[in-house]
Each structure stands twice: as structure tokens, then as C-alpha cells.
């Protein structure tokens, strides 16, 4: 998969016990603690890491720094898991929710209103479809990138 972190990018291919980073292939193993990755063993040496995944973004603490890494390959742009997802453009508070799960909506219809930076922002449906799920209720605080509404497309998924 293609990953990006600030100005850096890399193509990573994970195999069974080996990983290819760009043009280098190394043996590797995940070290887990209680179900969380806490180390990456490369060529027999374990480097400590801490990892948080949020959707297609991953925060990794490694070697004393924190890297914000994003998946930027095709899957992201057309994969089924994001087709209907509407993410909060900025942190704010949900002021009004105009739809319910099950509602049929049309492209451009206002789904909810987000208050951020003292202004109200209308969140509109990117497509015709059906509301599958609402991530938040009125009054909830949302983080930038939080999934607000899931829409099942009217046409092919």
C-alpha cells in the first residue's frame, strides 16, 4: 500500500514474515502486548512503537517521535469503506441533525449543521442514497475527520 507522512511517501508490501519498503525487503515480525502492536522486529531486532489507527490514518510513535501516516493509494479513494462516509471537515459541535437513519437523501441535501470557529457549516450529502448511520447526536463535539454520516449509495456501491 502507498503511505504518506508529511513530505515522505513509501510503498509498503507486507508478506509473510517479510516487508518491502520501497526497494528494500526486510524480515519482520509484529510484537504485540495485549492485542496492541508494541514493537516491530526487523532483522532480529525489536524497535518499540506505539500505534493508533483511525480510519485510513495512523499515528505511530517510534524512535522518540510521532509520525502521522496516511494511506494514499487507490483503495482509499474508491474503496467501499469510504464511499459513503462523510467526515467532519474540522473540529466542532453538531448543532442540528436533519436526517435519521433510513432516510432517503439526495445529493446536496443538508444532513446536519456543524458549528466550528463560531460559524455554522452545513454538511451536505455527496450523493443520492440512504442514511445508514449517524455518528453523532445534536450537541456532540466532533473531531476533525470523525465520521459524521454514512450513506449507502442509491446506485452500485
Amino acid at each position: 500500500m502507498k503511505l504518506t507522512s508529511g513530505p515522505h511517501a513509501a510503498e509498503i508490501v507486507l508478506g509473510a514474515g517479510s516487508a518491502t519498503v520501497g526497494d528494500r525487503t526486510v524480515s519482520f515480525r509484529e510484537r504485540e502486548r495485549d492485542g496492541e502492536i508494541v514493537g516491530i522486529e526487523i532483522a532480529g531486532e525489536t524497535v518499540p512503537v506505539r500505534v493508533l489507527r483511525q480510519g485510513d490514518r495512523v499515528s505511530v510513535w517510534c524512535a522518540g517521535r510521532t509520525f502521522e501516516i496516511e494511506r494514499t493509494d487507490e483503495r482509499r479513494r474508491r474503496g467501499p469503506d469510504h464511499a459513503g462516509g462523510l467526515l467532519a471537515p474540522m473540529p466542532g459541535r453538531v448543532r442540528r441533525v436533519m436526517v435519521e437513519a433510513g432516510d432517503v437523501v439526495t445529493r446536496g441535501q443538508i444532513l446536519l449543521v456543524l458549528e466550528a470557529m463560531k460559524m455554522e457549516h452545513a454538511i451536505r450529502s455527496p450523493q443520492d442514497g440512504t442514511v445508514v448511520r449517524l455518528g453523532f447526536a445534536e450537541g456532540d463535539l466532533v473531531e476533525a475527520g470523525a465520521p459524521l454520516v454514512e450513506i449507502a449509495a442509491a446506485a452500485a456501491p
Binding site: S5, A19, I40, P91
Partner: protein, 497 residues
């Protein structure tokens, strides 16, 4: 001496509420807290014995609401109130209301707050007491000020009399811009502080901010507890502080300390306060302002002196005299301490960040103290101060303290909300900071961060996390509201099997 209180209402949130609660417990005082209705999950509640809901609304209706705080104190049966810093800590009306309700106010008198809160009044009082102030004007109308500005020279600052802490001021570089800046600052000040008075101060581009901790008691004794170097700032906000200051020699330290004591004495100051000075390149110092509360950066003074300033605040408010060993040169700072402020902010644009802290692992070990206002799971909102925590390191000398700060910073794991840790690292790594010879423009002059790239382990960890589709590997969930019984037919165990 009035009795030490039994139950202390802490009228604040975040790290300072936690900080005050810790000392209260050590003194055998029950710390009780407050929270806004939508802030009931805030971290500071976990260090209180109990906390009460201030009700719905924004800051003005909750943490800044004197009636609601008075009611909270009554409901909880508190016999004393500590305001922390920020919020109502420098609000003389709040101090009066607390005293009026028969509770012990852990802070200076309302009169002292008032006279230092009005910056022009403070300048006047300082001049009378023989404390040097930054060359500048009195209040005046546009014409007077233009005249005075021409005399002072540029750059200069237009400052609101009711402002402070970097708020309500504008820099002016040319005479032609002065009239406009005066008008604008008047307008802003009238709107923000309800007082449109402004004045002018000469501005020093390459100066240091050095402050002195002072303490006064009811008998009129005042001492200083040495200095804090606060020149590492971004947009007039402190980012890192250290003590001692590399800019002072014993003679200058003594002169500034004496001026700080005179400043406090001039307003009959009782309790903990801070006198801020500007120190120019020729080692002249000028009174800037006095903060009539505990400072954010008070821990570095605690570390070099082995004291607990909150304990002293409470004891002195209860009527105790200054400790005998604070006088006569018996207090000697030991080693070096540095405070780093960890803010939730975008490391590129420096804008406050919100989000939820998903992984939070604090640095620890020798010479490391963390005063945090958040923990794992804490929601960080833009409605409150973006200060997450303070890392305070101490070492036998400045070099050891810097190395320790760098080590501790690299241990800190914060995932879920971006922080200014990269900026703090750049400061610690810079030649200019390490040399000790820096001024308030340090951050603007920092070289670009070296970019060592992304380690393979980080790429692989990210890739591995993204590739995963398995449900959580945890067999037993920590969340009680979410702990499915592994043998329960309704649980995820069977559903997933």
C-alpha cells in the same frame, strides 16, 4: 493564624486543578472540584474527592460564573477557595465575593489585584516605589499619545490598560501607523475589557523576560524566591521556562530581586505573586507587570528550592508568617530546572487542536515531574486552554537538565491529538538555546528542524495496522460499560465465533 481549611474548593480545571488538589491532600485538606455540565468527563475530576456540576453553558456561565461557584462552595461545604490561574484568579470581585461569603480566599487582597490589574495604575505605583518601568506614556488621547510616541521612538507597543499576558496590545513600527493602532487598540480594549484606556511602551526587539516569584505575609514581610527565565515564547505565549536564568549574575539577580520585593511591598502584597521584568541587551531591567496569582511555571521554582508553593499559599492565606528560613539568604537554589509546556496544536500551523487522546504515556524516572491535566481517553476541546501538561525536569546543572528534557520528551507518547512536541524538541536541540544566550525572538530564529525521515519500523507498523481487519485482540475489556462477559451468549465472543 486562622485554621488551615478542611475542605478546599478548586475553582478551575486542567492541570492546575490537579496540581492544587495534590497539595491539599498532602495537607489533609479535602479537595473538591467543579465542572461544566459538558465537561463531566474532564481529567481533573479524578483527583478531587468529589466534584459538583456547575450547570450548562459556556465558560462565562460555568468556570467564570461567580454565583455558580459560590453556590458550589456552599453545596460542598467548602471553607476555602483556590482559583488556580486564568479564569477568575485575578478577578477582584470574585475574591471579594469569596471573602464576603466567609470563606478563605487563597490569593492576594482584592485591592492588590485591582491595583496590579490596571496596568497604568501599576506603572504609577512602581514609579513611586522607585522600581524602573519600561519607558512609555501615561494614558492619553490620540494627540498626546502621538506626541509621546514620536519622543519614544519605534518600534513601540500600544497597550490596553486593562490587558495583560500578551492580550490587548499592538506593535507599531512607524509613526504613520501609530494613530491607527491607537484607535484600534482602544476599540478592542473597550470591547474586550470594558475599558478603552491605552498607553504606549517602548519595545525591545531583542530582550529577555525574566520574572521573580515573590511572597508576602500579613505582617508586611515580603521575600523573593529567585527568578524564572521566560524568554522562550511564541506570539507572546510562554513555551518553555527555566531557572536559574543564564542572563543573571549575582549582582543583577540581587538588584532585580530587590526591585521585585519593592514592587510587592508597594501594594501591601500578601501571598504568592510574580513580578515580570524586561531585561534589555545592556542589562537594564524594567517592570512589565505583576501577576497576582500562581504562575503556570511555578514548578521550576519549587524544583530548585525544594518547596511547595501551593502549600505556602494556603498557609499564608490562613495567616501564617513567611517561613523563617526564607530570609537572610538561607534559601539557595540547587541545580537547574526547566519546564516545557505541551500544547494540543498543529505542529505546522500552530493552531489549537481538538480530538481525543487515545494513547497517553508520560515520561518518568529521575529528575522528571509531569503536571498533567489530561490522561488516556481525555477529550481535548477548543473551548478550553490547549495546555495538556507541563514537563518539569531538574538536574545538577543546565546541561544535564537539557539532556534530561530531551530524553523525557522522546519518551512521551501522545496519540490521537497532535502536540507541539516537535517545536519543543527544536528549541532544546538549537545551538542558541543551548548557549543560554537567547532573547524572546528565539523561536522565530530557530533553524528548520532536521528531517531524519520516517524509520522503516514506523512505515511497517502503520502498514500493519492498516492491513488489519481482525477485531480487537483483547479478551477482557477494560471498559465496564463495555465488558462483555466472555461466556455470555449475548456477548461478542460468541457473536464473533
Amino acid at each position: 493564624m486562622a485554621a488551615i481549611p478542611k475542605r478546599l474548593l478548586i475553582a478551575n480545571r486542567g492541570e492546575i486543578a490537579v496540581r492544587v488538589a495534590r497539595t491539599a491532600r498532602e495537607m489533609g485538606i479535602e479537595p473538591v472540584g467543579v465542572h461544566a455540565a459538558d465537561d463531566a468527563d474532564a481529567f481533573h475530576l479524578s483527583r478531587m474527592a468529589r466534584s459538583v456540576d456547575l450547570g450548562a453553558g459556556g465558560i462565562a456561565e460555568t468556570y467564570l460564573s461567580i454565583p455558580r461557584l459560590l453556590e458550589a462552595a456552599a453545596v460542598m461545604g467548602a471553607d476555602a477557595v483556590h482559583p488556580g490561574y486564568g479564569f477568575l484568579s485575578e478577578n477582584a470581585d470574585f475574591a471579594r465575593a469569596i471573602n464576603g461569603a466567609g470563606l478563605l480566599w487563597i490569593g492576594p487582597s482584592p485591592e492588590a489585584i485591582d491595583s496590579m490589574g490596571d496596568k497604568l495604575e501599576a506603572r504609577r505605583r512602581m514609579r513611586e516605589a522607585g522600581v524602573p518601568v519600561v519607558p512609555g506614556s501615561d494614558a492619553g488621547n490620540g494627540t498626546d499619545l502621538l506626541e509621546r510616541g514620536r519622543d519614544l521612538g519605534f518600534p513601540l507597543l500600544v497597550k490596553a490598560s486593562a490587558g495583560g499576558g500578551g492580550k490587548g496590545m499592538a506593535r507599531v513600527d512607524r509613526l504613520e501607523d501609530l494613530a491607527g493602532a491607537i484607535e484600534q487598540t482602544e476599540r478592542v480594549a473597550a470591547a474586550a475589557f470594558g475599558d478603552g484606556n491605552v498607553y504606549l511602551e517602548r519595545m525591545f526587539d531583542r530582550a529577555r523576560h525574566v520574572e521573580f516569584q515573590i511572597f508576602g505575609d500579613r505582617s508586611g514581610s515580603v521575600v523573593h524566591l529567585f527568578e524564572r527565565e521566560c524568554s522562550v515564547q511564541r506570539r507572546h505565549q510562554k513555551v518553555l521556562e527555566e531557572s536559574p536564568s543564564a542572563a543573571l549574575d549575582p549582582r543583577l539577580r540581587e538588584a532585580m530581586g530587590r526591585a521585585a520585593v519593592e514592587a510587592a511591598r508597594a501594594v501591601g502584597y500578601v501571598g504568592a505573586g510574580t513580578v515580570e521584568f524586561l531585561l534589555d541587551e545592556r542589562r537594564n531591567f524594567y517592570f512589565l507587570e505583576m501577576n497576582t496569582r500562581l504562575q503556570v511555571e511555578h514548578p521550576i521554582t519549587e524544583e530548585v528550592l525544594g518547596l511547595d508553593l501551593v502549600r505556602s499559599q494556603i498557609e499564608i492565606a490562613a495567616g501564617a508568617p513567611l517561613p523563617a528560613d526564607w530570609r537572610g539568604g538561607k534559601l539557595v537554589p540547587q541545580g537547574h530546572a526547566i519546564e516545557l509546556r505541551l500544547y494540543a496544536e498543529d505542529p505546522v500551523e500552530f493552531l489549537p487542536r481538538s480530538g481525543r487522546i487515545r494513547v497517553w504515556e508520560e515520561p518518568a524516572g529521575p529528575g522528571v515531574r509531569v503536571d498533567a491535566g489530561v490522561g488516556e481517553g481525555t477529550r481535548v476541546g477548543v473551548e478550553y486552554d490547549p495546555l495538556l501538561a507541563k514537563l518539569v525536569v531538574s538536574g545538577p546543572d543546565r546541561g544535564a537538565a537539557i539532556d534530561r528534557a530531551r530524553r523525557a520528551l522522546s519518551e512521551w507518547v501522545v496519540l490521537g491529538v497532535e502536540t507541539n512536541a516537535p517545536l519543543l524538541a527544536r528549541v532544546l536541540d538549537s545551538e542558541e538555546f543551548r548557549s543560554g544566550r537567547y532573547t524572546t525572538d528565539l523561536i522565530a530564529r530557530l533553524p528548520e528542524a532536521e528531517d531524519p525521515g520516517v524509520p522503516d519500523a514506523a512505515w511497517i507498523a502503520a502498514s500493519s495496522a492498516l492491513a488489519s481487519v481482525a477485531p480487537s485482540g483483547r479478551r477482557l475489556e477494560r471498559a465496564p460499560a463495555g465488558a462483555p462477559d466472555p461466556w455470555d451468549a449475548a456477548s461478542g465472543w460468541r457473536a464473533g465465533a
